[in-house]
Symmetry: C2
Subunit: 268 residues, 2 copies
């Protein structure tokens, strides 16, 4: 299970000033707490500052986080002018968040993904359908995207298909649609990965963390192997560890027992 820590995002109002003013201490600490909580990647996003400042600030985020922590980053931008210099600075294999089948976005980002051997989040979106909400269209776009990326030389195992999560408050079918999409994508393309932006599911409902916590377990039960989330949500991480044990991904329940011994399960 690949966990991307979502907190360093300039759309968060308490993060934006730290990015804008290059407050390295704040950013290094935000990365530290996420890594300590179990994140495998740290997402970095400076998208709210516009095309003039984003490249410089995204590069500063890469240098700042990797200067303090040995970790991989999720470079979170649709803008190739920000992604390209950030990729050059990034140490190790980066994750690009994200490509889609939208022609301009695909044509600009695919060469960077391929030439840097990066992992990539591939959103089920294209110019014709926008961001589809129904299962059939999601699967059609997912299939076309996987085939186009692999045809262009991106290895299947570098691709994290994002079926796009929409709020169950809008339509109570949206949960099942995404769960079925995850299962079918994982079945149809053995070796590919799936990834969700977890918190979209709970938009518009009270106690969003409760919805997010249970949705992660349900999605893992259908094959999900990646998620963008806030790893400092302790119950979410406890549930993730427990779900891994229940799904047979934790030999002798050792991770579960260790989590118990270190107090990660005892939250009430």
């Amino acid at each position: 299970m690949l966990i991307i820590g979502e907190r360093i995002n300039s759309s968060r109002k308490w993060v934006a000033p730290a990015v804008e003013n290059k407050d390295a201490g704040f950013i290094v600490n935000e990365a530290a707490v996420q890594l300590a909580a179990g994140a495998n990647y740290v997402d970095v996003n400076a998208g709210t500052f516009g095309p003039d400042r984003e490249p410089e600030l995204l590069c500063w985020l890469v240098e700042t986080v990797q200067g303090a922590h040995e970790c991989r980053l999720s470079l979170d931008s649709p803008n190739p002018d920000a992604i390209e210099p950030a990729l050059k600075l990034h140490k190790g294999k980066a994750l690009i968040n994200s490509i889609s089948l939208e022609k301009a976005r695909y044509d600009n980002l695919m060469p960077l993904v391929r030439d840097h051997g990066a992992d990539v989040i591939a959103m089920c979106a294209d110019d014709e359908h926008g961001m589809p909400t129904d299962l059939e269209t999601k699967l059609m776009v997912a299939g076309a995207l996987v085939e186009k990326l692999t045809g262009d030389g991106v290895p299947l195992e570098n691709i994290y298909v994002d079926p796009l999560v929409f709020p169950i408050a809008t339509d109570s079918a949206y949960g099942n649609v995404v769960l079925s999409a995850i299962e079918q994508i994982m079945t149809r393309y053995p070796g590919v990965h799936t990834m969700v932006g977890l918190s979209n599911i709970s938009h518009g409902l009270p106690f969003r963390f409760q919805i997010n916590q249970m949705f992660l377990a349900l999605a893992m039960g259908r094959g999900l192997d990646g998620a963008i989330l806030d790893p400092t949500d302790k119950r979410l991480m406890a549930n993730l560890i427990t779900t891994n044990a229940l799904l047979g991904r934790d030999e002798f329940c050792m991770d579960y027992i260790q989590a118990h011994q270190s107090g990660k399960l005892d939250l009430d």
Copy 2:
């Protein structure tokens, strides 16, 4: 989702004296808290008192609980001499917990199930395989049991197949085995139900309620529509309500929102 409250069971050491001494106040209250917490059925079990006393005590439990509450009961015994008089006293459609393909048990209980039009929990066990732990044998026994029961005149919709849950502490594959069994039983016999004794999954591990809570969600995600559990575990019930919403079984998330408004989600 059918919820059977498991608490009135003479194998629980704080319950046994109340059954033995016919402490009606205790039993009525145990039923009340489970019904208030969301149980659809109340399980009653007097199995630890042996064949001489079980029939009398099981009948007393039926009269005591149904004398105070309008509810259906799960008559929990393999003993036809206890089930038969208890069925006669029971008001409404009873649930018999449980039959199996073991010949003596089947032959003794099936006519009672059929003639009373009762619901029945059908355990995946037979004389040849005992209680199988592997998926293939579970499915074979489940199929034979469903076919035999329906062939003998028990309607499919009265059958709750129990695939038998074994602890993941014993074998880390046991979680996946049961989850797959649930999905395949529900797919192969449309209209049948599935039922698990939830807490078996966590035997031998610390923080058992955490395992139980997540296992219920995963099993519901694969089609489970019945469980024997302790409904006074508030987080378990909050998770159940949340999972129903995520699986599209809660139009406009009304149950979820109502649970929030009545404080059933705010547990920390």
